[in-house]
Amino acid sequence: MPGAELSNFLGEKFPGVVSNVTIPRERRVFAETTADRLVEVTRALKEWGMVNLGTITGLDSGEQFGIIYHFYDAQGLVFNLKVFIPRSDPRVSTVTEVFQGSFLYERELMDLFGIEVIGTPPGPRYPLPDDWPAGQYPLRKDWSGLPPQAEKKPYPSEGENRR
């Protein structure tokens, strides 16, 4: 079973680094690693046969942010690698040097969770507008809308100076 093979590989190659390996069903494996070993583990996964990074999910778990990297191989096995980082210092390294197509998913973490992705290639932001106020991260659990003063009016209302 490929899931068990992957679990054995990670256990041998990264003892103590990749933990909490679970196989909830056929073709699905979940595990956890630490932020400082993420790129190294990602590279090893690619060598093992993970052909693509499907997407990256951000999670707001209170004191910590969770980041889930959804890898899959050519036979349909999905490996979900979780990394937890502190909310007070939300930073993680880019994986774009291993999976080049993932920069858009990293942009989502930056815009929607306010997680700093170190080393991600420069480019336009995604998905929020260019004039989105700083410090507003919509997918954080404590965010429930823009503060009233931050809401911009698309056109000045009547009586206001139309210049």
Binding site: P24, R25, R27, R28, F30, V51, N52, L53, G54, T55, T57, G58, L59, D60, I68, H70, Y72, A74, Q75, G76, V78, N80, F99, Q100, G101, S102, F103, L104, Y105, L112, G123, P124, R125, Y126, P127, L128, P129, P138, L139
Partner: protein
């Protein structure tokens, strides 16, 4: 020659959907392209966190106007996996039937758009005519042309009866005949092939490296299809071939889509003829136990991924959606590079970016009278409308 930068979009760069492209040109050649997205960001992931699972079905169905069944099925599979619900085989088959009908109408739609973008509007007229027949069947089965709402937690909401099954089968033969004609065009017609071959080059290694999905990847020879690799619904029981092509350009993507149509017809025939007996739904509690699941679905445009995390309440803790177009946008930049400015619309259209078309019936308010037309009445109305203006369309199609 010095390079100049021109903006294309965000309004309608190719299709009726906003995306901004900043192209660096040297003469007519594109040397670099930058993509700016997000103009359609509606905050659906956030909205899903404050609605219950049943409400979320209808919300997530509206992520996309074409792949509506795709998104809701992808989401519901994850929720059912967390809840441990065993969806009955008949419901799985019905989901698959709707999914393949959706693929057929989506590919026919794309073929028409591609024809239009390369100045072959007859193809656009033909394939959209055929698409109407598929939309009618979808409306017959589900009651809706676009957002079918066939799914519910634990199964499907509507059964397919013998009469509907007969109508689906009757639809297939004329569609096969017409699709074979489109295949003849895509593989033999010199002007059409000449317009598309070598345009929007995406070599196999680049497609793999950038994580391209669906017909975009398969048109570059990447043999990947979620229906076969990670089977869901009834796909493990249905025989079908994964279509790939090695042209690695817009022509390759076209060939993959037209041959996929034939595969879909075969699958539809098999699914309808072998529809298992039994219930169409099982009971699923409104509160879903804590857990998480990742679900994948082969949308017409490529692989769709949903991650759902449940926390034991009737609302999800987190819903993450990765639509196929996002995965393909990284590769669009590469396929634009080195091409001509005039090829931009067809190269962008070739990944088949998603847009909405949800018109079904209209309300005509004349004075204080409001009236809703069904589809046949709407057809009559449009024929009359043109007749009054001197164009008689009533004989067409008879």
């Amino acid at each position: 020659m010095s390079a100049i930068k021109i903006p294309v979009g965000p309004q309608h760069p190719a299709l009726k959907e906003p995306a901004g492209f900043s192209l660096t040109l040297e003469g007519e050649r594109i040397i670099d392209a930058e993509v700016r997205l997000g103009y359609n960001h509606r905050g659906i992931e956030k909205a899903a966190e404050s609605r219950n699972y049943i409400q979320d079905l209808y919300l997530i169905e509206r992520v996309c106007g074409i792949c509506s069944h795709t998104h809701v099925t992808c989401f519901i599979q994850a929720v059912e996996e967390i809840a441990g619900a065993e969806v009955p085989p008949r419901a799985q088959f019905i989901r698959t039937i709707i999914g393949e009908l959706e693929r057929v109408h989506s590919h026919l739609l794309w073929l028409g758009v591609a024809g239009h973008e390369v100045g072959f509007d007859t193809l656009f007229m033909y394939s959209w005519r055929d698409r109407e027949a598929v939309m009618d069947i979808l409306a017959l089965i589900s009651g809706n042309r676009v957002n079918y709402s066939i799914n519910t937690l634990g199964g499907v909401r509507r059964d397919i009866d013998a009469d509907q099954a007969r109508k689906i089968l009757a639809l297939l033969d004329p569609l096969i005949e017409r699709t074979e004609y489109y295949i003849k065009i895509a593989t033999n017609e010199p002007t059409f092939m000449g317009r598309l071959s070598g345009v929007g080059k995406l070599p196999k290694d680049v497609a793999e490296k950038l994580g391209a999905v669906g017909p975009t990847a398969r048109g570059s020879g990447v043999d990947r299809d979620t229906r076969r690799d990670d089977p869901y619904a009834a796909y493990a029981q249905v025989p079908f071939k994964v279509i790939t092509d090695n042209h690695a350009d817009v022509l390759g993507r076209t060939i993959v889509r037209v041959f996929e149509l034939l595969e879909s017809y075969k699958m539809l025939r098999y699914l309808v003829e072998n529809l298992p007996e039994g219930p169409i739904t099982v009971k699923v509690p409104r509160k879903i136990r804590a857990g998480e699941a990742v679900s994948r679905y082969e949308a017409p445009r490529g692989e769709d991924i949903h991650y759902v995390r449940a926390n034991g309440t009737d609302m999800p803790e987190r819903v993450k959606i990765r639509a196929p177009t996002l995965a393909n946008l990284a590769s669009i930049r590469e396929s634009l590079k080195g091409g001509f400015l005039a090829d931009v619309p067809i190269v962008i259209a070739a990944i088949d970016p998603c847009f909405s078309c949800t018109d079904r019936a209209i309300r005509i308010v004349a004075g204080r009278r409001a009236e809703t037309l069904d589809w046949l009445q709407l057809r009559e109305y449009s024929i009359d409308w043109y007749k009054k203006r001197g164009i008689d369309l009533s004989r067409i199609g008879k």
